[in-house]
Each structure stands twice: as C-alpha cells, then as structure tokens.
Symmetry: C2
C-alpha cells in the first residue's frame, strides 16, 4: 500500500525533447472525438503528419465517422507514440494532446498535400479523391507519459519549437 | 475524383474472427474519455486484458487523469490493435469500441487480479497499491477497420463469443 503525490511534473529539457520527437515523428495517431449522435467519446486511428509550420495534420475522408464528428465538435485529442515489440508497453513513451480540429481551406491544399506526401508517399493513391480533406490540429495542452512516475505537462510551443 | 457509398459493412465470419482476435489479444489500448473540467475528449494509453467471462478490463491508478474522468463520465472508447513495423499503418487492422466503464467491486478483486497477472505479469509490481483499481468495460458497439474499404460493424456478443 502506498500514498503518492500527483505525478504530473513540469517539463524539463529531456521531456520537451522526447515530446517533440513523438510529435515530429509520428505517422499515425489515435484520435479521440465526440460522437455527435450520443455525446459519448469515440476513437479511431488516423494518419498524422505536420504542416510546414509544425502544426499537426491529418487527412480524412467524408465517409469516416470521425470526419463528420469533427465538423460537429472540433475539440478532440491525439495519442502519439506506439509501444515497441519488447518490454512493458506502459513504460513506452507516448504523448496525449488536447487539440481543436480546423478543416483546411482550399488555398492551403497544394502546400499541405506536398507536406503530407513527403511523409506518407502511399497516400498518393487517394489524396486527390473528392471526399478527402486536410485537417489541422491546434494544440490546447499536452501530457508526455514517459513511463511509470514520469508524466510531464508540455506546452504547445514546446511541440512546435 | 470519386463518389463512394457508406463503407461500413455488416460483419461476416472473417471480420468477426479478426475483431475477436484483437479483443482477446490486446495488452494495451488507447482510451478516449471526456475531460470533466472542459467536456472535451481526452486520450491515454492504458493496459488491457479480459476478465474470465470475456469482459474487457483495465487496471488504473487514482493518480491518473482518466481514472478521475471515468468516475465522472463512464462512457468511453477503446482502440485496440497496433500497426506493425512494415506497410501502410492505415491498412493494419484495428478495433474501435464504444464502452461504459464500471469500477469493479472489492469482492471481484481477487479473481480479476489473477486474470490480469496472467496476461500482465510485470503488473505484480504495482497491482496491490491502494490507488489501483480494476475497471470493466461493457461494450455498446464496435467497428472493425481492416484497412481501406474494409470497415465492419461488430456486435458486442461477437467479441465475447
């Protein structure tokens, strides 16, 4: 039996560097969103990348439940960082990010398309389908979990730096 | 450019078997929950296992944001199935499950502890800490995404069968 304090620590340089590497390196994310029919949380895996300015980005189809949901309620959250094949997966670092989704305007499409295809070359098979849209994620707050007892609050500017 | 129909198909035997293998084999899950302070979605990685009756199960600490959140709003969602190291990760199968969280009663603890440790032997380091609790997940509905154009609606009883 134990009693322990709130484990969320202020970020240090190592935590910021790890958070940034997860943000900058992820190719997919788990996306938490709100089901507009029920108000309950729902979840899906989406592709993840960055716009040229470091903003988080995804590419979604109108046919997906999460696309309709983000249009109704743009507040969402992303989980970045996959556990490796060995060791305790709960000791594997991951980043939880509260975000607001913002559908890209048509004038941005060519630039975002180039950024996306640089990270996701196989997306050229569907990126130009009429029902696919780029969505930017504006960061509200983030938490890095580096393993047991190593949770840190990360500021939005620390992800983009 | 293309127009395409709603891609969610009724489950067939292969889809049900794949969904069940993800449900029965996962050791971790991404958990979508509602932040009680803001009403916005939030997300975390949690351990995942099954009770002896096939119900989904996690083990969470009172120190975690998601534990406090599930006490306030038990509706949540789980994403099971990790992308492999090769190929397009969006072609890797995953299961999105809308659930209601139910904190286990003390009389259930010994049985759940045995089920949990069989799948998560390293959890013996913390399973008996006073702030850790077992939570069952009652399934509302589930969606299997087996890759592009292969999305299926899965019934709760098909996960437990």
């Amino acid at each position: 039996m134990s009693t322990r304090a709130d484990p969320v620590l202020p970020a240090d340089d190592a935590a910021r560097a790890l958070a940034r590497s997860l943000w900058q390196g992820a190719k997919t994310a788990a996306l938490a969103f709100t089901d507009p029919a029920t108000g309950a949380p729902m979840i899906a895996r989406v592709g993840f990348g960055l716009a040229a300015d470091g903003t988080g980005l995804t590419l979604v189809s109108d046919l997906a439940q999460h696309t309709r949901a983000l249009r109704a309620e743009p507040r969402a959250a992303l989980l970045l960082g996959e556990p490796g094949p060995k060791g305790d997966p709960l000791n594997s670092p991951r980043l939880s990010v509260a975000v607001t989704a913002r559908f890209a305007v048509p004038e941005d499409r060519a630039t975002l398309r180039a950024s996306w295809l640089a990270r996701h070359p196989k997306a050229k098979l569907y990126v130009d389908f009429a029902d696919f849209h780029f969505v930017r994620f504006d960061v509200t707050e983030a938490f890095l979990n580096g393993g047991f007892g190593r949770a840190y609050r990360i500021a939005a500017e620390d992800l983009h730096g």
